[in-house]
Symmetry: C2
Subunit: 132 residues, 2 copies
Amino acid sequence: MKRNSRLSLALHTLGHMAGDPDRMRTSADIAEHAGTNPVVVRRVLGRLRKAGLLDAEKGHSGGWRLARPPQDITLADVYLALDESLIATMAEEDAPNCSVEHALHRKVSSVMEDIERSLIERLAATTIAEVK
Amino acid sequence: MKRNSRLSLALHTLGHMAGDPDRMRTSADIAEHAGTNPVVVRRVLGRLRKAGLLDAEKGHSGGWRLARPPQDITLADVYLALDESLIATMAEEDAPNCSVEHALHRKVSSVMEDIERSLIERLAATTIAEVK
DNA sequence: CGTCAAGTAACAATTCCGGTTGCGAATATC
DNA sequence: GATATTCGCAACCGGAATTGTTACTTGACG
């Protein structure tokens, strides 16, 4: 798998879960379908669990399941749960003693923050139940 | 220097050039001011040269200079010249034989493209002459 | 008690990026 | 014309980040 695959893996999995919310899935099942490793799956889905989007149960007949109805989970929820920005932030300068550098950083950072807000707004408009 | 520093370096340098457009600067000068290496500077500024934003001259009294008045160079020009997206693209799946995967990819990609357009629009509203 | 599955730590493999060196080409100065 | 200076470029190194993998622990169910 390539880079930046965490969001892809998370959305892909939740998309399938939305289609059959009651089914319990193990990380091995999910990993096989997604073409990756069970540990990787647990790493990614663990974030979603901590964010309250998924429930996980151990032992026999254990696995993963949606913690909320799929209509109540938006793409923004998943994006924010992963805490992994798709919007690059400006490289912070250690010693911003240059006024030009400082002004540029402020300007571009301001734009990027607006863009990030806009992205979240767009993602919040779609739930995982709508993606099939 | 950290990641995503190419745009920072480019904008920083052009910002200074905008304040004194006639001065010729060598990559060694620029590198020292930016705290990096002359070769790195040439790598980054070389892209801007190919995009028509900068002129470079070899030999004695050679160096770098703006190719256009600073009022005619926007942040978007620099961003596009570097051909380095600040917006992450979705990991392309090799075999998109999964309909959920496919639908998700289309949905998210569509949003990301809108966001990228929006970013460029925002960057195009500011010229390097305005950042001081 | 044994099995199954998540949770987690540790390590290897890969990729990406800036930094560095070296050399060639072009141009100004002597 | 010789020399010095500067960009252009290719090759390689090293660090950082990410994914893949192994191994072990914890907890739940039959």
